[in-house]
Amino acid sequence: MTLLKLSQFSCLRDGEPLFEPMDYTLSQGDLVQVVGPNGAGKTTFLRSLCGLYSEFEGSIFWKGAPLNPSDFEFLQHLFYLGHQTGVKKTLTARENVDWYFGLQDGASPQSSEELLARVGLSGYEDVPCQQLSAGQMRRVALARLFGSQRQLWVLDEPFTAIDVLGVAQLEGLIQRHCETGGSVLLTTHQAITLPGVKSWKLRPCIREEM
């Protein structure tokens, strides 16, 4: 099944396209890496798919219908991990994870312990996040990914600040997600070793320098 379809899509900044208009489709089970040089607008592109950036031209279709980014059904299928992960430093790891699933899935707090164990944070559940290292903070954010039931994962640089073992584990998770009918859109600076990675290229527009 086709999840996302882009037609003649390009993000704008101050009315100017950031990259050349493109047509792509994302189906169930697809793993897509968004590639392009620095400044081509990879982050902006991912944000615009999530409804966090509204200046673009062309159209996006979600399951065949024009995408409305505040649509309840769409938001229930979307997982977004950005540069800023949304982990609150004054809260503990457990509180952060519980809040996330409460807000996003309407779930009551229950399985955060197991999720935190999977990212190697057992014993840190009740430590305020400001006492954790950058890598550990990142893991708190990734713990949500391990518990996510959502179909479309949009991950902006998910591999930053985690070690080799963590990368392998995350790659495994992404692969499993695709095998069970989910789809993943991601950007990364690292080479990913997963089979069947498709790539969407952003070709920057030649900008006239003033």
């Binding site: 101050d14 009315g15 100017e16 200046e55 006239e208």
Partner: protein, 248 residues
């Protein structure tokens, strides 16, 4: 519903091409009427029995005050249209309207204060209208400050439009509460204009000045909006042609 016509109407190019003649007409009209109204009001209208010649300030004070108020609504509605239908032109109009409105509000405040000196013997009175005018000036300055604060044009437009709309909802509330406040704190004897009927010989120049100020307001708004269109669309070919004209 089909909003295609609105987008054509909201296209900067269309607007720029259609308003060329209007600018000339409004300009001539406003300058003539301003001169006629001012000369009539200053030199030909008779003296007021109570206030003496100082009442002649009314011919610029009242039109400026009324237009600065109307200008806020024009600005806010333009912003609202921009937020709902995403027309480029409305934000351009909104951007152009803010400084014009702020300057006219300042003009109304200044003339009100100067008028107060011969009438009440003091430069500043916490009169309901003057106080509301001052708050209106703050509202304008807030919108301008927000427009200036953002690097990103789109954010500047949309946030200042929301602020202008919130302000628009608040303006009547502010006016009513300030009015109520002055009845509490001040003897009712101080009033700007008597309710008595004004002699036609005094009224005609006022009416001319009203029309003149409205014409002037829209003339300025059109010209600022046209300049803003050229600034924002300078990367398009048609604006490039206009800007290069006369320089080769």
């Amino acid at each position: 519903m089909n909003w295609q016509w609105l987008h054509r109407f909201g296209s900067p190019k269309w607007f720029y091409e259609k308003t060329g003649l209007w600018v000339v007409a409004l300009g001539l009209c406003s300058i003539t009427l301003l001169v006629v109204g001012a000369v009539w009001g200053l030199g030909f209208a008779p003296e007021d029995a109570k206030q003496g010649n100082s009442y002649r300030i009314i011919y610029i004070h009242v039109p400026a005050a009324v237009i600065s108020m109307a200008g806020y609504y024009i600005m806010a509605i333009a912003g609202g249209v921009g937020l709902i239908w995403r027309t480029k032109l409305s934000f351009i109009v909104m951007r152009a309207a803010a400084p014009i409105g702020a300057w006219l509000t300042f003009a109304a405040l200044f003339t009100g204060a100067v008028w107060g000196k011969p009438t009440w013997g003091t430069w500043w009175v916490w009169d309901a209208r003057i106080t509301s005018m001052l708050i209106l000036l703050f509202l304008y300055l807030g919108v301008i400050a927000l427009q200036q604060a953002f690097q990103h044009q789109d954010s500047a437009d949309k946030t200042s439009a929301i602020l202008a709309l919130v302000g628009m909802v608040n303006v009547p509330i502010i006016y009513k509460s300030v009015e109520w406040w002055t009845t509490l704190h001040q003897p009712a004897s101080i009033k700007f204009t008597q309710k008595s009927t004004i002699d036609p010989s005094m009224l005609y120049p006022l009416m001319i000045m009203f029309v003149a100020f409205y014409a002037f307001y829209f003339w300025c708004l059109l010209r600022s909006a046209r300049a803003e269109i050229l600034r924002r669309e300078q990367k398009t070919a048609w604006v490039g042609e206009i800007l290069m004209k006369g320089s080769r």
